[in-house]
């Protein structure tokens, strides 16, 4: 089995599913490469970050379709096509642009099946890029998966590594419900997200969390890029005799409530690390779940680590202060273990 970066794993899942099923089409801005290359289809860009590179020459312009920059229009076309026999994978270049196509997801894709009395399906996948860290500022850095998670009828995936990305994208494409697939831009080439990926066809079921590390003292729930930050902290803590269990739910809808609850029941402590939002975010959903269903297992107050309630700033030192840091995660873990501020400062200074 070869190691693969998440970028290649997503491309590989698309190849796998397009080969398997002729009804799978790709649609989005620049995904083919527009004018193609001066060297023809082989040279076509395959999206601004090259994720869909090579798919145009392989599958042709009827299945890898470039659109105008008209998000509402092409997302609507994808929803309509999904409801009538195709299985479109539509790309929204940045999730921040969801405002430009929102209705087609919220009021059309999510509700068609329910409103039609179960007589229709909408097997749409919307792939989209999320996440801060690229100095891309306020309109190209958001992780709005919590918005989509709040909408009944949509499924939402937030992969954290190459293996999960390939298996979950395959599941998403085969799923008969609309799926929002959120790719953190920092993960495409992140070394720790580059893992062994089978060449063969495989899928990963939705609603099944991954145990990034197993542990007995504190449960940390994290998604996407945040799992890597949490895993780094867990490794450092292990050296100090603190056993941290990092759980990556992988899908926010459906959510693997059972794994989260089971872990909290065993550790008695919970830290949630979430890039989505300081208010009404995915993290708050997990905290509410635990408060509702595992309150009496808790030995300490729950800690939530999110960005502050302000837009993502452009300037690097501000952006670094905005993104949940390893230090904040470590601090939260130590707080759940009952350390006071001075003891935490001393522990972090020693580290």
């Amino acid at each position: 089995m070869a190691e693969m970066a998440m970028r290649a794993a997503i491309n590989s899942a698309l190849v796998q599913e397009m080969t398997r099923d002729d009804r799978v089409i790709l649609i989005g801005t620049d995904i083919a490469g527009g004018q193609m290359g001066s060297g023809g289809q082989e040279d076509a860009a395959g999206g601004v970050l090259g994720i869909t590179k090579g798919l145009l020459p392989r599958f042709g312009a009827a299945r890898v379709i470039d659109t105008p920059i008209a998000e509402m229009g092409y997302m609507g076309v994808a929803v309509g096509a999904a409801a009538t026999g195709l299985r479109p994978v539509a790309e929204l270049m940045f999730m921040d642009f969801i405002g430009c196509c929102g209705d087609m997801l919220l009021n059309q894709a999510a509700k068609i099946r329910y409103m039609f009395g179960g007589k229709s399906t909408c097997p749409l996948v919307m792939r989209t890029m999320i996440g801060a860290g690229a100095n891309a500022a306020a309109q190209h850095s958001q992780s709005l998966y919590h918005w989509m998670t709040a909408v009944p009828g949509l499924k939402v995936v937030v992969p954290s590594n190459a293996y999960d990305a390939k298996g979950l994208l395959a599941t998403a494409i085969r799923d008969d419900d609309p799926v929002i697939f959120c790719e953190h831009k920092a993960l495409y080439d992140l070394p720790s997200a580059k893992v062994e990926v089978p060449e063969d066809d495989y899928t990963i079921p939705f609603g099944e969390a991954n145990y990034v590390t197993e542990g007995s003292d504190v449960t940390v729930v994290a998604l996407g890029l945040m799992t890597h930050i949490a895993a780094g902290v867990a490794a450092a803590m292990a050296g100090k005799g603190i056993s941290v269990e990092v759980i990556d739910p992988r899908t926010t809808s459906p959510l693997d409530e059972e794994s989260i609850l089971e872990s909290v029941e065993s550790t008695g402590r919970l830290v949630v690390v979430d890039e989505s939002a300081a208010r009404c975010g995915f993290g708050h959903d997990v905290v509410a779940l635990v408060a509702d269903k595992a309150f009496h297992s808790l030995k300490a107050p729950v800690k939530l680590v999110t960005p502050p309630h302000c837009p993502t700033p452009f300037s690097p030192p501000l952006e670094q202060a905005w993104i949940p840091s390893g230090e904040r995660v470590a601090r939260a873990i130590l707080e759940t273990l009952g350390l006071d501020r001075a003891a935490i400062d001393a522990a972090l200074a020693a580290a």
């Binding site: 527009g34 190209h140 501000l318």
Partner: protein
């Protein structure tokens, strides 16, 4: 058109300053000191300058992701712009916005924008303010061929016609929306012709010719100021660099890239016309060139030396009060 000599020299200076600003960023971007995404305006300078030099601070513009030129032409402080691009506290937006969100409302600049086409409805809102409050101002949105296909751009044009707003939609058709050719994504292949169907004057001009843009925009401006409603201008422009810095532009041939610099450089064309028409001497223009280089060099060094924002101020200005 009776532009005075000093106005022509000022136009050349603004275009030259934008060019130098952008070429400097193109070079400096390789050092890694400029954070984030950069979309350069090189090749399109005649458009921003011929439009903005006819406006004043009571008039608004709304720009797009390729916004440095529009802001500089409209009077944004050059040093403040440069500091913003470097993410510094004394930048125009205190390092919060950066290249794609640069703005200076005091000069009637509603900002660059990261959302394609968003400037059209925003500027239409500024035109509504101007009409409602009777400020005498007009509003201009700059957007590209890519944005010409966005639904809310159509919606904004319709409302501007409905309400006869002092609004000018200025489409800079540089041939490419991101990586994709306008001849593929504009179904009718005719942005001005399509816009005319909304019921407003819509013309196409050569966006490499300062004088042609100046004249066409002047006509639209006269109508807007006289309360005769909105207009559309489609300028055929050229983009020297990629969609963003780092775009290898595999979709364009080397011949095309060389040819536009050789034959469609609006700055070169203006320079030749000024000399040929005896409006300026080579020496006068060379002096302006040199001054632009010195200005940009000074701004760059100031930007590099300037302080970053204090992370303790991260939350400032999320709200007026909370």
């Amino acid at each position: 058109m009776a532009l005075k000599k000093e106005e022509l020299l000022e136009a050349y200076r603004r275009m030259r300053t934008i060019r130098e600003f952008e070429e400097n960023i193109h070079r400096e971007n390789t050092t890694g000191e400029i954070p984030g995404f950069l979309h350069l305006y090189c090749g399109q300078e005649a458009n921003a300058v011929a439009v903005c030099m006819q406006l004043d601070d009571t008039d608004y513009i709304a720009s797009n992701h390729r916004g440095h030129g529009h802001c500089l032409a409209k009077g944004a402080d050059v040093k403040g712009m440069m500091l913003e691009l470097y993410g510094k506290e004394d930048g125009l937006c205190h390092g919060r916005g950066g290249s794609m969100h640069i703005a200076d409302v005091s000069r009637g600049i509603l900002g660059a924008n990261g959302i394609v086409g968003a400037g059209a409805p925003l500027a239409t809102g500024a035109a509504l303010t101007a009409k409602t409050l009777g400020t005498g101002g007009v509003a201009v949105s700059f957007q590209g061929d890519g944005a010409s296909n966005e639904g809310y751009v159509f919606e904004a044009i319709n409302m501007a016609v409905m309400w006869q707003l002092p609004m000018i939609f200025y489409f800079e058709n540089n041939g490419y929306g991101e990586f994709t050719g306008h001849d593929y994504v504009v179904g009718s292949k005719d942005i001005a012709g399509r816009a005319a169907a909304f019921g407003l004057p819509a013309v196409r001009v050569d966006g490499t010719d300062f004088f042609e843009v100046y004249e066409a925009f002047g006509e639209a401006l006269k109508r807007a100021r006289a309360g005769k409603g909105p207009s559309v201008i489609e300028a055929q422009a050229v983009r020297f660099y990629g969609h963003f810095e780092g775009d290898p532009q595999a979709y364009r041939s080397t011949e095309e890239l060389e040819s536009v610099r050789e034959h469609k450089d609006c700055l070169k064309i203006l320079r030749q016309k000024l000399i040929k028409g005896k409006k300026a001497t080579t020496a006068e223009l060379d002096t302006i060139d040199q001054e632009a280089v010195e200005l940009i060099n000074a701004c760059r060094e100031a930007a590099k030396a300037a302080a970053f924002p204090d992370p303790a101020t991260l939350m400032n200005n999320t709200y007026v009060s909370y």
